[in-house]
């Protein structure tokens, strides 16, 4: 024990003597540790925010396409539907005895790059995210009138909209819009609280509102001036939608989920697809997981490069330290002490690298958290080092010891052959 603390003291002093090279080595290890742990943190956060986009929804029903495609357009507002669902089909399925609630959604229009979604009051009632949280209004109220719109938190913040703001909905989802429904402006009646999900980037209105802005359109083209109907004329019409894009389903009992799924998939009226959002999310994550794995592999290699840098630094220092070793031998150090000294040095450098790396990590997370929340909707949770993190750190220390064997072994041999006299 006494010997170990002496060795540690000697190793420490020796490192201090070469402090610039040592500091750079520690820094390079620290950066690689930050990268490796940071990638893990971000991927964890992305995963949990991803999984929390939809909760408590048993099934999502849309036109028959792929599971992931349906999930992407219905939940993440990415991409477009291949087809719409007939309103009658929706009504028929919604009456199924096993189904307690449905949330119809109608997509296709946008406002300055943000998707507009038509739905019903059931959306506020039944939609849940995260750990079963309901949507909350930060300001105002739910939409009730034909031309009312409720904004997601990000839409309101980015575009600087408040209650009472008049907005115009554009046809289609491109940011450069040729057709604008400027004859029927909408009024902001509510703003939702931030959820960290795609809801924040959505404008919500009634299905009838969506129908109203398209009711005088003919063959998918805007009406000529003389055919166009005013907002008041439109509000007296029957605005039951003819189609919707998809709907979310809540069941009475989970036990019925697969039979309802099968019935929807075998529905004879039109080709439909019912997906389990949790299953589709997992499949999507597996796809993304490849990129995630690639990032991890790259950052592991960065750690390896850091450790090899340390090896280079120690190895090149060996020659100039022959005198140091000789002095140590002259005061009674055995060749094994020399071996231990160099092992300790490698370990010390790696440990300092790890500690500094973890400090960098938390500073970086603290700096990046507001940016990530604002731009990507990712909410970083500040937790201590996870089990995984500790394993990574231990792995790095172990790798440093293994790598340290090479210079230690060389120094051991030098010590044996040189003895007290150095032939330089």
């Amino acid at each position: 024990m006494q010997k170990l603390s002496t060795l540690l003291y000697l190793a420490w002093k020796s490192v201090l003597n070469r402090r610039l090279a040592a500091l750079l080595t520690v820094l390079s290890i620290a950066c690689s540790v930050t990268l490796l742990l940071g990638v893990e943190r971000i991927s964890q956060t992305a995963r949990s925010s991803f999984i929390s986009t939809v909760a408590g929804t048993d099934l999502i029903v849309g036109a028959r396409s792929g599971q992931i495609q349906l999930l992407l357009y219905s939940v993440f507002r990415l991409g477009d539907a291949t087809n719409n669902i007939d309103w009658q089909s929706y009504q028929k399925i919604a009456k199924h005895p096993e189904i307690t609630w449905t949330i119809p959604i109608s997509l296709g229009d946008s406002h300055r790059g943000y998707r507009v979604m038509g739905t019903t009051q059931d959306y506020f009632e039944h939609f849940r995210y995260g750990s079963e949280q309901h949507l909350q209004l930060a300001q105002g109220q739910r939409f009730s009138g034909l031309f009312d719109v409720v904004l997601g938190a990000e839409v309101a913040q980015k575009l600087g909209y408040g209650l009472g703001q008049q907005i115009v909905i554009a046809h289609g989802s491109s940011t450069v819009n040729t057709f604008v429904h400027d004859d029927k402006p909408f009024q902001v009646v509510g703003i939702l609280q931030r959820t960290g999900t795609p809801v924040d980037r959505t404008l919500h209105m009634s299905l009838q509102g969506i129908e109203a802005i398209h009711v005088d359109w003919q063959n998918g083209a805007p009406p000529r001036a003389e055919d166009s109907l005013s907002s008041t004329q439109v509000s007296q019409m029957d605005l039951t939608p003819k189609t919707i894009t998809a709907f979310l389903v809540g069941l009475k009992s989970k036990l019925g989920i697969f039979s309802v799924q099968r019935e929807v998939n075998n529905y004879r009226g039109e080709p439909l697809l019912a997906i389990l959002p949790g299953v589709a999310l997992q499949q999507l994550w597996q796809l993304i997981g490849i990129a995630d794995l690639a990032l991890r592999v790259i950052s592991s290699f960065v750690v390896l490069v850091g450790l090899l840098g340390m090896l280079t630094v120690i190895l090149t220092s060996l020659n100039e330290r022959r005198r140091e070793m000789a002095i140590l031998r002259s005061v009674g150090a055995s060749p094994w002490h020399i071996f231990g000294l160099l092992q300790l040095e490698a370990l010390l450098l790696a440990l300092f690298g790890c500690v500094l790396g973890v400090i960098f990590l938390y500073v970086l997370l603290w700096l990046a958290a507001p940016l990530l929340a604002q731009h990507l909707g990712l909410w970083l949770v500040f937790t201590g080092l996870s089990h995984y993190d500790w394993i990574v750190l231990m792995g790095i220390a172990l790798a440093a010891l293994l790598i340290g064997i090479l210079p230690a072994w060389r120094a051991y041999h030098h010590a044996l052959s040189d003895g007290l006299t150095i032939r330089l």
Binding site: L255, L276, G278
Partner: protein
């Protein structure tokens, strides 16, 4: 016990209400892949249900309707092998799961030809004399299991033996729904246990 029975009625015998009164029909053909099985798992409180669908190529080695005594016996034997759930599924003991029902039967894949287009629901009812119908060249075996688990929150892993019983089976696609959430998994002979969410 009674509630589990009722629950199994809910799952397996739901009235096909959605189908009633549709005006137009179109042909649809379910995907059917040899070597791949589909396993649906659902757990709510103490009730756990599993439903396995295998292609008959993997179970019997033939997919057509039985044409001789030997083949009829093979179907019967496969049915009893698949119903013998104790040898097919193992739960982690802490969950304390006991079998409440297990059954398996051969099913011809639905295919809708003009001559019995409206006989869609009949196909389910007349399965016992399915040889009488014109049936698709593909068929499946379906097994349904129900369990009662006293400690459902302890249910962590389920090990399946289907790969040993049916050597040509390559993978099982698992969809699961539990009180803790939904999940998916893919089982192979090397990775033959389901980890629940």
């Amino acid at each position: 016990m009674k509630s589990t029975f009722l629950a199994s009625l809910v799952v397996f015998a739901l009235p096909l209400t959605v189908h009633a009164g549709d005006e137009h029909h179109y042909k649809q053909h379910a995907a059917h892949e040899h070597g791949t099985a589909q396993l649906n798992l659902v757990q709510e409180q103490q009730t756990l249900m599993l439903e396995l669908t295998l292609s008959n190529m993997d179970v019997l080695g033939f997919e057509h309707a039985p044409s001789n005594q030997e083949q009829a016996q093979a179907i019967e034997k496969a049915g009893s092998v698949l119903a013998d759930v104790e040898h097919l599924l193992t739960f982690n003991p802490a969950a304390v799961c006991t079998v409440t029902s297990a059954q398996a039967q051969r099913k011809a894949l639905e295919h809708h030809e003009d001559d019995h287009e409206d006989g869609h629901e009949d196909e389910h009812e007349h399965e016992h004399d399915e040889g009488m119908h014109k049936e698709s060249t593909h068929s499946e075996f379906q097994a349904q299991y129900a369990f009662n688990c006293q400690q459902p929150e302890q249910l962590k892993t389920i090990t399946v033996q289907f790969f040993d019983v049916f050597p040509s089976l390559e993978k099982i696609q698992v969809q699961m729904v539990t009180d803790k959430g939904q999940g998916a998994d893919q089982l192979t002979a090397q990775h033959s246990h389901i980890e629940l969410p």
